[in-house]
Amino acid sequence: MALTTAEQPSVRASRATGTPAKRRGSRRGRRSEAVAGYVFLSPWLLGLMAVTAVPMLLSLYISFTNYDILSPLSEVEWVGLDNYERMFTADPSYWRSVTVTVSFALIAVPLKLAVALGVALLLNRAWRGVGLFRGLFYLPSLIGGSVALAIVWVSMFNREGAFNGFLGLFGIEGKPWVNDPTWALETLMVLAIWQFGAPMVIFLAGLKQVPTELYEAASVDGAGRFRQFRSVTLPMLSPVIFFNLVLETINGFQGFTAAFVLSNGTGGPIDSTLMYTLNLYIKGFTDYEMGYASAMAWVFLLAIGIITAVFFSTGRFWVHYSDGDDR
């Protein structure tokens, strides 16, 4: 990443000189340092245990039971791998939600990143009032997860919505986007893409890190704009692109709010917006199958973990860390 890149030489320097000095320090000193560290960490550690680790382990346990959330936890029955088996063999809605989520992520995430990068390139110039535009473009992300925005989206993209009014100006007859099973998910994708502010800001920061002398050198060599973008900007930006890609993919898979609001919590019309997390919610809280929902959550966690791992393992082929190390 761009920031770490800048720091890396100094870190290396301190490692070279500092480590032997530490090694000379007494055992006891190191130990008390560690204790102090843990003491300072303890509020966070306790919080992590109480609100994350314990519930997570509990949900892992629940995923092997028939827990229905209404009955006391003490009355649940152990069902082994039944929940997992049903997911993969006997639940069409499960595969429906996997398809919806994957197509959402596959289309919305790359488009969102492309738009974010494009706008970041435009806003990277020294215009008058560029700060204002940066703020304006970031705005949709600020109200991003909000329910209100999804409601506005629904009214913009239904049959009488503003979007169809706009199309009408050109004599194009619109569609009932959000209420049509063919288009509802696409409407959600557009909403997600429109909220490109967060990756855009990160791209902007990345662009600022690219040394200007590289562009100067490139133009001396006779490289045109496109060539400069391809051979200087993109490689220099690749750590930031990588970062955004990982983050936005995870985000994309976890999309819930907009789908929930748009479909009134049903994933409709006809399961067209049945995102994985929404399906999970419906199973857990509407159908009272919390055991099954927990199993779904664990498979989801594993899947996201695997996807992220794949990103990291392929990253070394295309992510360029310019710390002069050429790895």
Partner: protein, 436 residues
């Protein structure tokens, strides 16, 4: 280290661990111990704080607050902690509270949730209070029965309603069209709706094929029922016929387009198609008519669903239930009794949750009503009461799955993604295993 100290320390650790496990268990057991006692031995004038939870609109919240205040005026020792929210998400919230062992003392349910909560023992069995602290002798018997699951009285009917077809009177009069009538056949209704559509450009009726309560009336008129015990009471053929009936209506142009029907399927009462002007009729509950009227300038009318009105029944629109875990059951039961059997409370609550369950009080209340729409909905329902059929059983656990799958199946047919036969067969295969 001395071996003795080590065992000693190990024992200490083990003791601590045991204590760590035991303390919550003991606390939990203590909490369970409270379940059984109804608090009947305690002083009746000791201060009680009762938590109440229900869903509804702002208007309902106001009425409920007034009624509870009337109770408080008579019982100053009782204090209420009231929470309410919109219908969407209500069941989820209640389930979450149940999971946390924090069920409110007194809460509202409807027949969509009753079996789910009752079979999992969230609700208290109120049978022992019947005839004592809760008087249901003035209720129509079907309303009392409709609050029973597995032989236990788990909900006290907060009001009675029945299916009502609400239509836009102004639109019809303006175009010189006849109004729908109770007793019209389904085919007559569809022809009428097609006629309305041709004349007014407003589709005559919302296609209710996704609406469980419309299907329910229709299937009862075919001599079957939605459920028979813990099974579906109809076959795939029956359901396919229902879908085909409405496919015909759509082909005649009697209904809106599928996306508009979808809007009507998922929306709340304030945006029903009869109110938004996207259809001339909406399929609702008769007592919702006054609420619909608040959202439109047009005059509305209400009749029974098509077909023989004996397909309809006196349905408990909503129940009051008491938490099994509550240690204030006596008070909670007393409050319910007040809400359903006290003339003052009944007059305050009006028809918001349905017609008053107590027949004597209903008659007395009806005489005081001045609101024309409320009057009409009471009159229609009273007229129907003579023709009502026997109340069906309370829907079993899994009813909510049937409802959501029916919407999907119907929309699959409407959007042309499945034939009526395929959609019906898929639904039966999906829903049947979830019932129980």
């Amino acid at each position: 280290m001395h071996p003795g100290t080590r065992t000693h320390r190990r024992r200490l650790l083990r003791g601590l661990a045991a204590a760590a496990i035991a303390v919550p268990l003991v606390l939990g057991a203590a909490a369970c111990g409270d379940d059984e006692g109804g608090g009947s031995t305690s002083d009746p004038n000791a201060p009680v704080r009762l938590s109440v939870f229900y869903w509804g609109s702002e208007a309902r919240a106001k009425l409920t607050e007034d009624a509870l205040n009337a109770y408080k005026a008579k019982h100053p020792n009782v204090d209420f902690e009231v929470t309410w929210q919109a219908n969407q998400g209500y069941a989820d919230k209640l389930a979450t509270l149940a999971a946390g062992g924090d069920v409110p003392d007194l809460f509202a349910l409807d027949d969509n949730m009753l079996a789910d909560f009752a079979t999992r023992n969230v609700t208290a069995d109120l049978t022992e209070y019947k005839g004592g602290k809760i008087d249901v002798s003035k209720f129509p018997p079907s309303l009392v029965e409709y609050g029973m699951v597995d032989g236990k009285l788990v909900g006290i009917s907060a009001g009675e309603n029945t299916q009502g077809l609400v239509y836009n009177k102004t639109l019809l009069t303006k175009n010189g069209l006849p109004e729908p009538t109770t007793g019209q056949t389904w085919e007559q209704h569809i022809d009428w709706a097609a006629q309305v559509a041709t004349k007014t450009k407003v589709p005559g009726t919302q296609d209710p094929s996704a609406d469980y309560k419309a299907f329910w009336v229709w299937i009862r008129q075919q001599g079957k029922d939605l459920y028979s015990g813990k099974e579906l009471g109809f076959s795939a053929d029956d359901l396919a016929k229902w879908f085909t009936l409405w496919k015909g209506a759509r082909d005649k142009g009697a209904t809106p387009t599928p996306d508009i029907i979808h809007e009507g399927n998922v929306t709340d009462i304030s945006k029903q198609l009869v109110v938004t002007g996207k259809a001339a009729t909406s399929w609702v509950w008769a007592n919702q008519m006054p609420e619909l009227k608040k959202n439109t300038k047009d005059e509305l009318g209400v009749v029974a669903y098509p077909g023989d009105p004996s397909g309809q029944w006196a349905r408990s629109s909503m129940y009051w239930s008491v938490a099994r875990s509550s240690d204030k059951k006596d008070t909670a039961v007393d409050v319910i009794n007040f809400l359903v059997n006290d003339q003052q409370a009944v007059n305050i609550l009006g028809t918001d949750r349905g017609l008053p369950s107590n027949m004597d009080l209903r008659t007395a209340f009806a005489g005081t009503v001045t609101d024309a729409n409320m009057k009409l909905s009471i009159q229609v329902e009273n007229d129907l009461a003579a023709k009502f059929g026997k109340a069906p059983q309370v829907p079993p656990k899994g009813h909510s799955t049937f409802r959501s799958e029916l919407v999907k199946a119907a929309e699959n047919v409407q959007f042309g993604r499945a034939t009526p036969e395929k959609a019906a067969a898929d639904l039966i295969a999906l829903v049947q295993p979830k019932l129980g």
